[in-house]
Each structure stands twice: as C-alpha cells, then as structure tokens.
C-alpha cells in the first residue's frame, strides 16, 4: 500500500526526544551551558558544605573579628569572627531549599489553578483569575513581608509566603496554553471517547503545556531566591545565627564602610546564582520553542 511510503525511521521515546532537543538548543545558545554549570556547581557546594567548608559557620572567634580576606579566611571574617566562606556555603543551602521548595509549591498549586480555570472557563475562570490578579498587583516583596510578619519568620513560613507570591504567575502561565490546547481536535476526540475531565486535563493537557511551565519555573526560582534574600535583609529571614545570604548582607551593612567584604561576597553569590538561573531558563525556553524544534 502506498500509505507506507512515508515510513519514518525507528522511534525514540518522548523523554529522549525532549532531552536531545534541549541539548541541541543548549549547543545553539552556548551561554546556557554556563548557566547550567554554575547552577550545578552551587547545588554541589551547598550539598557538600560540611565537607568543603574550612570552618564551622557558627563558631565565633573574637580574636579574628572583621579580618580582610587572607590565606586563613579566604573571604575574611565578620563582626563575630565567623568565617564568611563557610557561612556563604551554608547559606546557599537555605537559599536553595527555600527557593526550590517555594517554587515547586507555587508551580504545582499555580498550574492546577491555571489548568482548571482554563479548562472550565466561564464564571469560575473569571472569579479565580481576578483573585490571582489582585495577588499579582502586590509587589512580591511587600506581599511576602506581610505574610511573614503574620506567620512568623520560620523557614516553613518563609517558604509558604514566597510560594504564595508566585502562585498567580504560574496560574497565568498555565491558563493561557490550556485554553489553546483545549481547542485542539485531540481534546475533542478525548471527549468523544468518553474520557473524564480529570483525565483529559491530567493526561492530555498537562503534558502538552508542562515544558512551558518548567521554563517559567527556572526563571521564578531565581526570583524566589531574590525574594528570600530581600526578606532576610529586612530582618524577616530565617533567625540568626543561622547563615543566610540576605542575613549576611544585613549584618555586614553596619560595617560596610571599612569592611566592604562583608557585603560583597554574599551580594556576588546572589547575583551569580540569579544570573545563572536566568540564562538557564532562556536556554530551556529556546529548547521548547517550536521554531527551533523543526530543526531537529
């Protein structure tokens, strides 16, 4: 039969295709490799902080207060004589845990809201998305500040507060492609095959919009880390003496004029991880861009 003229080559599973498309886009946009390497390095450094850190991050040494960087303390010491490098490594754990946890929570809840609003439409959509718009109207820092002030500054509460500030963004991001995918024939075919709404949303819509959500996830991870640092800087972070990057900047601020390194190291750390996550997100965005996909 002539219908078999177009026989394609052997099939590869979808995950592999997605991976190779991602790698292809990464190669086309070399800076995304830089982002990936930095992010992986920071994760490893945070994970193995107890092994790498030259000192205990909480150990105070009154005799070596406010020392500039030298061979004993590579990044200097703070007002209490604690090693800044060690505090930086341990602080990365707080930043990453709060950042990742809040982003994952926001991604799951936000996508759920967005897909439901996009799928059911009508009044439900209007009410839910208006509520999201109201949340979105608050600057995320102010909203986080109010929530942490209400809940109290513990690690869990900060995570919840940051998650709440980014749920509306994920809801918006998930809703738009849901509405597009909903109109496509294979969704109508699913309805004709008597699939339940839940099944159509979970098995047919979600896999088609997930890459887009994931890209926004990596960009919002950077935002979450920034918000966490900002909250800590204001004094609503994880309680001292636990090391956080934002808290380190806050503590170093008092002596910034004669001990610049107190603020410089954590500021650079925040800058580098946010920058790396942003270019990684750009790389992922290129990977799922259908225009580049055709060039397989």
């Amino acid at each position: 039969m002539s219908a078999s003229v177009h026989d394609a080559g052997p099939a590869s599973p979808p995950r592999m295709r997605w991976l190779s498309a991602t790698l292809g886009a990464f190669n086309a946009n070399k800076t995304s490799w830089v982002g990936l390497v930095i992010v992986v390095a920071v994760i490893l450094a945070a994970a193995f902080a107890p092994l790498i850190a030259p000192h205990d991050p909480l150990e105070q040494d009154i005799l070596s207060r406010l020392q500039p960087p030298h061979e004993n303390y590579y990044l200097g010491t703070d007002y209490f004589g604690r090693d800044i490098l060690s505090r930086l490594l341990y602080g990365a754990r707080i930043s990453l845990v709060i950042g990742v946890a809040s982003t994952v929570i926001a991604l799951v809840i936000g996508s759920l809201i967005g897909v439901l609003a996009g799928w059911y439409g009508g009044r439900f959509d209007v009410v839910v998305m208006q509520a999201m718009d109201i949340l979105l109207a608050f600057p995320s820092l102010i909203l986080g500040l109010i929530l942490v002030a209400m809940l109290g500054p513990s690690m869990e509460n900060i995570t919840i507060a940051i998650a709440l500030t980014s749920i509306p963004s994920f809801a918006r991001i998930a809703r738009a492609p849901t509405i597009t995918v909903k109109e496509r024939d294979f969704i109508e075919a699913g309805r004709a095959l008597a699939f339940s709404d839940a099944r159509i949303m979970a098995r047919h819509i979600l896999p088609n919009i997930f890459p887009e959500i994931l890209v926004m996830g990596s960009l919002w991870l950077a935002a979450a880390i920034r918000t966490e640092a900002s909250l800590a800087f204001i004094g609503l972070g994880v309680k001292p003496p636990i090391a956080t990057w934002g808290g380190m900047i806050r503590e170093g601020f008092e002596n910034i004029l004669d001990s610049y390194w107190l603020v410089l190291a954590p500021s650079l750390a925040i800058l580098i991880i946010v920058f790396a996550l942003n270019i990684l997100g750009d790389g992922l965005r290129d990977a799922i861009d259908p225009k580049l996909k055709g060039e397989r």
Binding site: S2, V5, A11, P14, A192, L193, A194, H204
Partner: protein
C-alpha cells in the same frame, strides 16, 4: 506554434534539510505557450508548489538552490540580479495563492493594496492608480466596487478576497499568471465562480496561466495542457484530452481511477468501492466492487434526530447584551439505520459540523431531541452521557490535530480500552494490535509518535482509535477532505469494509459531492442550518428538486475536459450568513415528500 512565454528546462531545485541537500524537483522541463493554460497536477510532496516558487525565484537563497534554465520570453530568469528579478515579479509574472486572507495585508484597505501595486510597478500617480484600481475591482466582477474599495480584507468573504488577489495580480497586465491552488480553500459554488473568472480574464487579457492544483476536476475545467508530477519528477506532459482519455503513465491512470466522478454511480444501488491500485506500477487491479448490503432497514432506527436546533448568541456593546444569534442548526430531523451511511452535505457555514458535534453533545443543543438506540441523549446527566458516547465516535478532518502529539499511537489507541475497563495489560495490547491490523497498519508501529506517520496513516490511526470502543455510530467530519486522492480512495475503501464487518452507521459530513455520491446510502443537503433536501442517494443525485441542490451539483468540477468549453454565467452571489436578529422568525417551510423517501423543503 509561436515562441513560448515560459520555458522551463532541466529545472532542479534543492532544499537544505538538516545540513543535507534534498532535491524537491529533479529535471523538470515544460513550456507555456502564449494564451495557454497549463496545469501542474500532483499530490502533496510532488513538487508542484516548489515549481511555482522556483519560477518566481521565491526560494530562499540560503536554504534553497535552483539549477537549470527558466526563460520568460527568452530571458533567463535565473541569470537576473535580485533587483531585475523584482521588476519581473508583478510586472511580467504575477502569482495568486491558496489562502487569500494571509496574502492580503489585514491593516490596509483592499483599494490601497491594489493601487499600491499600480503605483509601484506602473509608476501611476495617486489619483490615476485609484481610478485604475477601481477599474480592476470592476473587472474581477466585485459588486458595488466603489464601496468595496475602502473595505479591509476581513470585511470580505473568501471568494471576494480571492477576487481582490486576482485584481492585484492582474494590475500590471502580466504575461503569465501563476495560480497556486487558488480555489482549494473555497466552497464549491465559489470555486466555480473563480475558475470561470480566471477563464474569462484570460480571454480578455490574452495572458498565459500556470495553474497548480491537486484536483483533477479543476484541471479538466481549466487546462489546455496538463503536466503530471510525482515526487519532483514530470511523469506526463500532454494535452488535457489525451491525459484524461488516453493516459500513458500508470500513475496518471491510478490518479484518475481514484477520483470519484459525479454521475459515476448511476445504476448502482449501493456504495461502490474504489478499484485497488498496484503501488509498484500504478496499474488498476480488477474492477471496483459494490459494497455489501449493510443497511438494516427493518430494525428500529439507531439514531433519531427531531427538531434539533443549535444557536450561538452574539454579544456586543459595553454591557455585553445579546445582539443576535447564529442559527447554526435549525429544526433538523432525520433518522439513521444501523449499517447505513447518511451524508450531510453543504458548504461552509451550513451547520453540518455543528450537527455532528451536537449529536455527540460536544456542543449543547438549544432545542430538540437526539434519540440514540431509543435513549434520549439530550437529557442525560454526565455519567450516562459518558456511557452513551462509547457507542458514538467521531473522526476528524485533520488526523494530526486529533492525535495527542506527546502520546505514542499505541498508547493513544489503548487509552480508551483501558480507561473504560474493556481490557488490561496484554489483552489490551492484543486488542490494539488487532485494531491496527484492521485499519491496514502493522502493529509494530505502535511505539511511534503521530508526527512519524503520513496523513493517510494518521487517519487510519484515528479510525482505529474510534473503533476501540466498538461503536455503533461513527460521525466522520470531513474525514477524508485533507487527504490526497489516492490515499482518500484507500481510506474510503477501509471505511466501507469496516461498515460491512461491524455494521457501523456513518454520519458522513462532507462538502465533496463526488465522494458523497460514492459512499452514502442517503443524503441530506444542508443550507443555512436547515435540511433543504433529504432522500436516497440515487434520488437526490439523479433528480435534485431543491434549487440549492441543483446549484451545488452543477458547480462540482467534473474530470472531463470535454466540458472545458462550457461556460457558466459569471455569477457573483455569496453564501449568505446564518446570523439573524433576535426577533427573527423562520419562514413557514417544511420537508415535503415529493417522491417515496425523497423530501424537499417547501413553503407550506
């Protein structure tokens, strides 16, 4: 014979795909004489559109390569600089495309767009260009051209837009007009108008036309000479009469055998299968056989639709008040027996697709009842509805869009079986394999993804998935319209075979009268949401009673070049819109039985 206007010699066009050059056209040569119409005909991937782009040199210089010689009036176009080529385009050669909406700029009035071409190419001043543009609009028979001059493209219908495109193309009196599938996106009555217009304008202007199409009927209507292409090569190049009456190449014979012709079915009581075609040499094997008698006329009807009405509100203004309604489906009544094919035919906007979707309750009806196996579907709750939907399935026009791109086809076919608990694990796998074999595909293809299949294979997959729940009724919404002729014939044969095997009833929604004549038992002609004529296939085609049915039938292009000299009148009427004011009342009309089993809508 005088010197050809266009002479293409040893044309080869290649595109770079993934770092490799692939030939889209290999060694193509043909001539177009002055005043002659040459049709290039072929299926998708035959290189017919690339030929047009090569002549216009619209192939991207970085990813495409053109070799050979393309001479226009003796001047080699491939040797010209890009600046000189720009002067040739529009001035000497003009082109019209399939989709007139995308080829017109949506933010400029049509009058401006035509006069722009005149000012640019012919150096007319503003007033002269406008006067000339208005004359062009009148020339392409646009009614009340003066008001249309200031309209934007979206305010015009598809047929009007194509007329504007033709006016733009003819503005500079080109020697050659290249028309790339100009009527494919249009309804059949509008297609007839546009073909007639092109023929008339060609006589008036004395230009040559290179007409690219996949439709053998259109070829027969318009072409003096036919070039048959297949996979980038020319197979046949001869006068129309010869190609249609004495085709030389096997592929041409196969192509002609696969085209259903209106009137083919005279004297056949049942649907007729298409002849089998040997893929190796394109020879027709054996004679077409009549489908088995599948209609269970003595049983109670499988589907009874009565008074079905579907309307959509149109809201407008600041307060979003109801302004009018689209009367998509108006008071529709018909029945369908087991094993029967009822065709719903009509042009775009007649409500045929809405009818199909309303029966499955993918769209909620405004009024009326749909009884399926004696059960009223319109009153069912959600759970019962899911139950009934198992026995009613749907096949869509675009099989690629109807398959989830992220699911392997095996998983897609298995999903309904597993979800509805019909089989599990290896039983489900066996069932999927059986279904794939039933639709003529190898079960080992189950691990592949939709994009790895051809259009015909995808439609087979969509059919396999629809059959997974062993339905009794299949709503086929333009199921073969997007397929190439030869593939279309195979899929239709498959549908006839499955009907014989499983006793399926089809609600066959289509705009293609020739296909409908071939496969259906009964026909309902729809116009503006209403059935205007309903009867057995023989009665409707042999003895059409309603004026609209007659008009529809006479507009269908017939693959017989002897009819080329026949001229229809240059009609410009449009398909009216089903949008009505809120207080609109339907005229008092009803379906009246004019002969046994033959109903026509008449005033009562």
């Amino acid at each position: 014979m005088s010197a050809p206007v266009l002479s293409v010699q040893n044309l080869q066009t290649a595109f770079r795909v993934g770092g490799q050059w692939r030939w889209a056209i290999e060694d193509l040569s043909f001539d177009v004489a002055p005043g002659e119409t040459v049709a290039i005909v072929g299926e998708s991937g035959s290189g017919k559109s690339v030929t047009a782009l090569s002549i216009m040199r619209l192939v991207s210089e970085t990813s495409g390569r053109i070799e050979g010689r393309i001479a226009l009036d003796g001047r080699d176009l491939l040797a010209l600089s890009e600046d000189e080529m720009r002067k040739v385009r529009g001035n000497d050669v003009a082109m019209i495309f399939q989709e007139p909406m995308t080829s017109l700029n949506p933010v400029l009035t049509v009058g401006y767009q035509i006069s722009e071409a005149l000012r640019y190419h012919r150096g007319l001043d503003k007033a002269a260009a406008q006067a000339e543009a208005l004359r062009m609009l009148e020339k392409v028979r646009i009614p009340s051209a003066k008001t249309r001059f200031g309209n934007y493209p979206h305010q015009l219908s598809g047929g009007m837009r194509q007329r504007v495109m033709i006016a733009t193309a003819l503005a500079c009196k080109p020697k050659l007009l290249i028309a790339d599938e100009p009527t494919t996106a249009l309804d059949v009555t509008i297609q007839a108008q546009i073909l007639e217009l092109i023929k008339t304008l060609q006589d008036e202007e004395g230009m040559s036309v290179l007409f690219i199409t996949h439709d053998m009927g259109v070829v027969a209507e318009i072409a003096d000479r036919v070039v048959v292409m297949w996979k980038g090569r020319k197979l046949e190049d001869a006068a129309s009469e010869q190609v249609f009456n004495r085709p030389v190449h096997g592929y041409t014979k196969a192509l002609l055998a696969a085209v259903p012709k209106l009137g083919d079915m005279e004297g056949h009581g049942r649907p007729l299968r298409f002849p089998a075609i040997d893929a190796a040499n394109g020879q027709v094997k054996g004679v077409p056989t009549l489908a088995a008698d599948t209609v269970k006329a003595d049983e109670a009807p499988l589907l009874e639709v009565s008074g079905l009405t579907t309307r959509f509100g149109i809201r407008g203004g600041i307060l979003g008040r109801l302004r009018g309604r689209v009367h998509a489906v108006e008071n529709l009544s018909f029945t369908l027996q087991r094993g029967e094919t009822l065709a719903l035919v009509g042009e775009s906007g007649c409500g045929k697709s809405t009818t199909g979707r309303t029966i499955l309750r993918l769209i909620e009806p405004t009024a009326g009842t749909v009884r399926f196996q004696g059960r009223d579907v319109t009153g069912l709750g959600k759970g019962d509805l899911l139950d009934v939907r198992r026995d009613m399935q749907m096949i869509f026009q675009d099989p690629f869009a109807s398959l989830n791109p992220r699911k392997s086809v095996g998983a897609a076919i298995a999903e309904p079986i597993v979800v509805h608990g019909l089989a599990k694990g290896s039983d489900a796998r066996d069932r999927v394999a059986e279904l794939m074999r039933k639709v003529g595909l190898s079960p080992d293809m189950g691990g592949r993804f939709p994009h790895e299949f051809s259009g015909g294979q995808r439609q087979r997959l969509a059919i396999a998935r629809a059959l997974a729940l062993s339905p009794k009724l299949v709503v086929a919404d333009e199921a073969v319209s997007a397929l190439d002729v030869s593939v279309k014939a195979q899929v239709l044969n498959l549908m006839l075979d499955l009907q014989a095997e499983f006793g399926l009833a089809y609600l066959f929604i289509s705009h293609d009268m020739a296909v409908v004549e071939r496969v259906s038992h009964r026909v309902a002609v729809m116009y503006l949401g209403e059935i205007v004529e309903l009867g057995t296939r023989e009665a409707v085609f042999a003895d059409p009673r309603h004026p609209y049915t007659r008009k529809l039938l006479s507009a269908v292009p017939v693959p017989d070049p002897a009819r080329r000299s026949l001229r229809r009148e240059l009609a410009v009427d449009e398909i009216p819109s089903p949008i009505r004011a809120l207080d609109w009342k339907a005229p008092a009309q009803a379906l009246v039985e004019v002969a046994p089993d033959h109903f026509v809508r008449q005033a009562v």
